[in-house]
């Protein structure tokens, strides 16, 4: 029998607001793992915690900044990016990370996403893609795969979902990655690397939502969705972005992960016209 030990301190204590726990996330939810990666990346970034800022919109994923012991802003649904843009432009010395859900960033906030990427605003954008609107109870959203069931797609989703890495790269992101909450080391590394990078960096994180997505789709719990990732995911940093659609019906179709894009392009500084016209 193992003995329970309560440790007085944890290496990430400084990173979390102890007085905010327990958190609201469901058992088996992937958001906690992604938050942990973000916290680790912040600690290892070499940037003092007082200079980190975390901004979110509304949703389960967007609750994360509230648990992080940094300057944090839990804004309105879909508006994390423009809010963060104003903040980052006034304080370019701060390291601003946006952490929000797929619905927040790509449905209601989609317009802000594409324009901030086009401008190459110096932001790290981490998107929890749990294939649905978790917080409001499992409705279909812009990343719900074809055929997947949701409370507003009771017979299966017939809308084509976004291929987020392809979208992000097409609209101008200078760093594009996709990982899952199973791939914590790679995810943490990706987050850490974009903290050193100027410009609009995008990281998609596939994340189990047993409550909203797993249940109606026959995925028993968070662990089972992680198992699905383990079976289906392949890492291919050089994969072709247009072919990265996720379709869970086809069991042979891999889910492609990796750090797909890492470019240097002048980031957005109002008033400063970049000299080069390079697109690469």
């Amino acid at each position: 029998m193992s003995k329970e030990t309560v440790v007085a301190r944890h290496p990430l204590d400084e990173l979390f607001r102890a007085d905010r726990f327990p958190h609201i996330l469901c058992p088996g939810c992937g958001i906690g793992a992604a938050m942990h990666c973000l916290a680790q990346a912040m600690t290892e970034s070499g940037i003092p915690l007082d200079r980190h800022v975390c901004v979110s919109g509304i949703g389960c994923s967007s609750r994360v900044p509230g648990y992080l012991n940094v300057d944090s802003y839990h804004t309105t649904h879909g508006r994390s990016i423009p809010f963060a843009t104003g903040l980052a432009l006034v304080r370019p010395d701060l390291e601003v990370t946006v952490f929000a859900g797929d619905g927040d960033l790509f449905a209601i906030g989609g317009n802000h996403f594409i324009h901030a990427a086009r401008r190459n605003v110096d932001l790290n954008v981490i998107c929890i893609n749990n294939f649905n609107y978790g917080m409001t109870g499992g409705q279909a959203g812009p990343t719900t795969p074809f055929g997947a069931k949701a409370t507003t797609a009771p017979f299966g989703n017939w809308e084509r979902p976004f291929n987020l890495p392809y979208l992000a790269s097409a609209v101008g992101a200078v760093f594009v990655a996709r990982w899952t909450t199973l791939h914590v080391r790679q995810l943490k590394e990706a987050v850490r690397s974009v903290m050193k990078k100027k410009g609009f960096a995008f990281i998609e994180v596939l994340s189990p939502c047993p409550t909203g997505f797993g249940r109606p789709n026959g995925i028993g719990d968070g662990l089972e969705e992680m198992e699905l990732y383990r079976e289906r995911c392949v890492v291919d940093h050089k994969a072709s972005l247009p072919d990265m659609d996720i379709d869970l019906r086809d069991k042979k179709r891999p889910i492609v992960l990796g750090n797909f894009l890492n470019l240097d392009r002048p980031h957005y500084q109002p008033g400063k016209i970049p000299q080069e016209t390079s697109h690469g």
Binding site: V55, I58, G66, S72, G86, L89, V90, N111
Partner: protein, 374 residues
């Protein structure tokens, strides 16, 4: 100088650090002027993808420490309402200019209107209070823009400049005081943190009801949320905390109304007919008052400079006395402020209304005024 340019210059005089906007007539000249001028003074000008983004961006810029502003007209003002609510809830000072045009919807893009008066007060969901100024000339547009930033910083609240197309586009002499004569209110700031000390970022002393502001990147590690929150800034579902918070958000303006409210009074001392008008319509109304006086009618003008809070105690005072006065409201909407006046004096005032597109002539005001005074 045009009213719109005067507004832009007023914001610069106030130390504007960040402007975000989306083009819309008749406010665009403010953005265009600031696109040139802000870079000259080391500020940041950003054109956003829409007004949802513009409003969100100025709130983000303000928590980062900059005085921030956006400018728009009715259609954009509607989109901004979402994050006006955010600024109210997070108590982030900012200034929003609405150069009103004919509405609803796209309405009359190039012509005057005053029909966003009630939207300024109630446009975002929930109970809250804001401050809204109404300039009647380019000079006043300059002066009130300058003041709007101080008011926003003092009460940690979004402040609206409810101009109209006529005031925005008219050209008049504007005197800009030398920088040395301009004083600015400083935001109430949290004391520097000692060690790893915690602090209550939404704590107020109960007197002025305005908490001190923690800017980003200063080590406070503050949390701001659009959710109902306690004094630590942490979300809560407690109905009691919610009621306390919302009441404070309303009361910090309501209980300070005496300090905030401004109204201009013209020939009111012995007036038997009180015309209430604001913005461009107050210019016609002033002329109408003079014309009435020439005819021996004792008329005067009450011009609300703050539309919100509304100068209601002054109106009630004016209505005291033995002989009941006549009240006339002249405005370019179908009676939005008339309803407010009725609320104050307890009976409907005479009205001169029009849905907008033109300023009503002094003669038209005179006619209603003379009739009301009979």
């Amino acid at each position: 100088m045009s009213g719109d340019h005067a507004c832009a210059e007023g914001s610069l005089a106030a130390g504007l650090g960040f402007f975000a906007g989306y083009p819309i007539t008749p406010s665009t000249e403010i953005a265009e002027h600031l696109a040139i001028r802000l870079s000259q003074v080391g500020g940041t000008f950003a054109q956003m993808e829409d007004e949802l983004g513009s409003m969100a961006a100025i709130v983000g810029a303000s928590v980062a420490g900059a005085r921030s502003m956006t400018a728009t007209s009715g259609p954009g003002f509607s989109l901004m309402m979402e994050n006006v609510g955010l600024a109210v809830m997070m108590e982030v000072p900012c200034v929003v200019v609405n150069v009103q045009r004919g509405s609803p919807s796209t309405g009359l893009p190039t012509a005057v209107g005053q029909a966003d008066v009630m939207q300024a007060r109630w446009g975002s969901h929930g109970d809250y209070a804001i401050v809204a100024y109404s300039p009647a000339s380019p000079q006043e547009f300059f002066d009130l823009t300058l003041r709007a930033f101080d008011t926003a910083d003092t009460y940690r609240v979004p402040v609206f400049l409810m101009a109209d197309e006529v005031v925005g586009h008219m050209t008049e002499r504007v005197v800009i005081p030398p920088a040395s004569r301009i004083t600015r209110v400083q935001r109430k700031r949290l004391p520097r943190l000692k060690g790893n000390g915690r602090f209550l970022s939404f704590h107020t002393n109960g007197k002025d009801l305005v908490p001190a502001l923690a800017h980003a990147g200063e080590g406070y590690r503050a949390h701001f949320t659009s959710l109902t929150h306690d004094e630590r800034g942490y979300p809560t579902n407690s109905p009691d905390v919610h009621d306390r918070l919302v009441r404070r958000l309303v009361n910090k303006i309501k209980l300070n109304a005496g300090r905030i409210v401004e109204a201009e009074e013209y020939r009111l001392k012995d007036a038997e007919v009180v015309v209430v008008a604001y913005g461009c319509m107050s210019r016609s109304a002033r002329r109408a008052v003079d014309m009435a006086r020439e005819k021996g009618i004792r008329a005067g003008l009450l011009r609300p400079v703050t539309l919100w809070p509304f100068p209601e105690s002054r109106l009630r005072e004016l209505d005291k006395g033995k002989k009941k006065k006549a009240f006339v409201v002249a405005e370019l909407n179908l009676g939005q402020m008339a309803r407010e006046v009725e609320r104050c004096i307890g009976r409907p005032p005479a009205t001169l209304t029009h849905a907008g597109g033109k300023v009503l002539e002094p003669e038209a005001v005179l006619e209603v005024l003379a009739e009301a005074g009979r």
